[in-house]
């Protein structure tokens, strides 16, 4: 029996159920929610330590042997993702306590929050394709409700697009799944990998490659790549900052995770076709995303579009398809989750202080809030890839991986997009922090003293991005191991199905 694999699912589930039953008592809910987030964080650390020390961990749910039952499995990549979910879960839970209004709490905010974490962790840990669909749905359903919770007009307009497009993605996923089962007779990912590798390595099977395309689109929608990303910029800036931050950090990354998982494990028979396509998509995603960000004039909208752009980087490593490149992807994802969540958390304070999300009406925060300014600058510069913060190493590893295999176009694109990222981060800085306070100030802006507690999770995440950079040797070594595991599916297959490597 191995508890480490199941705890990241059961802890948030129990927390969510308890907060659901305790809906009437705000204090009890908040206490349970915080405890649950903390427990998840600890459990996720434990999981990573376990995988780090003992290699890929697998557990057959219900004690039914793979490939018949559902296997939970954590390789380093999965464990890293769970840890990130734990970190974000903790930071945003803290932030939620101070920033979410009692009305939303009374209607199940905390419960939804932990259900979402449950879905996310489940998706990272499952070794079964249909089970992945289920976790996707858990996560999506929770995110639908969190997105719409509150019923503001903007939320509604965003939610309708978010919901529709994600449902289309789910339908595609499910269809692809059904077709895949029809062909391969199994749903276990390791089993699929083993079967496909045995017959189609020499000559790729056309229908398998076609199904790969369906998965590419289905996961691509969730990951928000070009030209499937539209739901994201339409909706991510509409809910409360805590929700945006949680989404920005975790949701699209589950799509990226799924893409990386299936395109390293299952669909690797026609790499020249599929992965080149992924590389093209990566480049287009970077460019359209960053241009979208440049065109925005509101704090969170800029950030939202940047998510799209950065998804491109994460996919780039997959497209390059070397251990080093995948390590770059893993590193980039980790870095991005921390930094992006942090920026959204900052945006919440900025919008509170300024009383508006519009950059034109913001200003003066460098003078009035030097510590907030510094806490913005750290993740912003990290996002732009400035050394010695985590983003630099993420970009460095991808660029290096691209140069090593001679993919100069994507390297050039990624570097150019990095510059534009810097440009729009500076735009935020110039407008919200450096520019003097405009004449007309929103009348519902709050005083800074009330927001002291908001800075704690922000500082927590900012210190992580600094630490990741500071110990880049260790963190990248970990990512490199994860990348090597990803490029060597035999390890995964063996951990799940047993047998000789």
């Amino acid at each position: 029996m191995n508890l480490t694999l199941i705890l990241p699912i059961t802890i948030p589930m129990l927390t969510a159920i308890l907060t659901m039953l305790l809906l009437k008592s705000r204090r009890a809910q908040r206490a349970v929610s915080m405890l649950g987030a903390l427990a998840l964080f600890v459990a996720s650390l434990w999981l990573l330590a376990d995988v780090w020390r003992n290699g890929i961990q697998a557990e057959q749910m219900g004690n039914w042997p793979a490939p018949y039952g559902v296997t939970l499995v954590a390789d380093l990549f999965g464990a890293i993702m769970v840890l990130l979910a734990g970190i974000i879960g903790l930071a945003v839970a803290m932030y939620s306590l101070v920033s979410i209004d009692p009305e939303r709490e009374a209607f199940g905010y905390h419960s939804l929050y932990h259900f979402l974490l449950m879905g996310v962790c489940g998706a990272f840990l499952t070794g079964d394709l249909f089970n992945l669909y289920v976790w996707f749905e858990v996560m999506l359903m929770a995110s639908f409700v969190l997105m719409a919770l509150g019923g503001e007009r903007g939320q509604m307009e965003g939610a309708i697009k978010y919901v529709t497009l994600n449902l289309l993605s789910s339908a595609l996923f499910l269809s692809a799944l059904g077709l895949l089962y029809a062909m391969a007779g199994t749903l276990n990912m390791a089993d699929l990998a083993a079967k496909f590798s045995s017959i189609t390595a020499a000559q790729p099977h056309g229908l398998v490659t076609t199904l790969a395309m369906l998965f590419l689109v289905a996961f691509g929608i969730k990951a928000a790549v070009f030209p499937l990303f539209f739901w994201l910029p339409a909706s991510y800036h509409t809910p409360p900052a805590a929700v945006s931050a949680l989404f920005a950090g975790l949701l699209t990354k589950v799509g990226v995770y799924a893409l990386i998982r299936v395109f390293t494990l299952i669909f690797v028979q026609d790499v020249g076709y599929t992965h080149t396509l992924i590389l093209v998509i990566a480049g287009l995603t970077m460019v359209t995303g960053v241009l979208g960000a440049v065109a925005q004039n509101e704090f969170r909208r800029v950030l939202s579009f940047h998510i799209v752009s950065q998804i491109g980087y994460m996919i780039m490593g997959l497209g390059l398809f070397t251990p080093y490149a995948l390590a770059g992807s893993v590193f980039y994802i980790a870095h991005h989750i921390i930094v992006k969540t942090n920026l959204f958390l900052v945006s919440g304070i900025v919008e509170r202080l300024g009383g508006t999300p519009e950059l034109k009406k913001l200003g003066g925060l460098y003078q009035s809030q030097p510590s907030l300014a510094l806490l913005f600058l750290v993740p912003a510069m990290s996002l732009a890839g400035l050394p010695p913060l985590s983003g630099f190493f993420a970009k460095l590893s991808l660029v290096r991986a691209g140069l090593e295999v001679g993919q100069y176009t994507i390297v050039a694109v990624s570097l150019g997009v990095g510059l534009l990222t810097l440009f729009s981060m500076i735009k935020l800085w110039n407008e919200a922090f450096w520019k003097p306070v405009p004449e007309v100030v929103g009348n519902n802006s709050e005083t800074a003293a009330n927001l002291r507690a908001w800075l704690i999770p922000i500082a927590f995440l900012a210190s992580i991005t600094i630490i990741i950079g500071g110990i880049a040797g260790q963190t990248f070594a970990l990512a490199l191991l994860a990348g090597e595991q990803l490029m060597n599916p035999a390890l995964y297959i063996q951990a799940v199905l047993g047998g000789a490597p």
Binding site: M1, T10, Q60, M61, G62, N63
Partner: protein
């Protein structure tokens, strides 16, 4: 929809439907049925009642809040997995045993049955929550 026929039908059908739902649930492991259909039928019983008499009346008859049904159901399903953990088994491992029920004698049952009960409660609670809330929307 406040017709007399409707009300009479609902009042008449409700116990049968509930009984039927329990029947479906109990036999589900061996024959078509199970927590899903059972829960749905149970919910349909209250739904019918609610359409006939209004959601307020139906909520009164139900006595528990649908949200609590959901919570308890989820807890039941989760705990059926945790029982295995406590016994040193993998999560959700089925544990079987016999219990003596008055009138039925020795009945084989196990944690999957608890799990299915959870499903039953959740499906019922959820469906009722849908119906009640939509009905109450102004």
């Amino acid at each position: 929809m406040n017709s007399l026929i409707m009300k009479t039908t609902a009042r008449f059908l409700m116990p049968f439907l509930l009984l039927f739902s329990v029947f479906l649930f109990v036999r589900g492991h061996n024959e078509p049925g199970g927590g899903f259909t059972g829960g749905l039928v149970a919910a349909a019983a209250f739904a019918l009642y609610s359409i006939a008499f209004g959601s307020r009346e139906a909520r009164r008859v139900l006595r528990v809040e649908p949200r609590h049904l959901i919570g308890v159901g989820l807890l039941a399903a989760l705990s059926s997995g945790v029982v295995a953990l406590i016994n040193g088994q993998v999560f959700l491992t089925g544990l079987w045993g016999y219990i003596r029920l008055p009138g039925l004698g020795r009945v084989e049952t196990g944690t999957p049955a608890l799990f299915d009960l959870g499903v039953y409660l959740v499906v019922m609670g959820v469906t009722l929550a849908f119906i009640f809330n939509l009905e109450e929307a102004e």
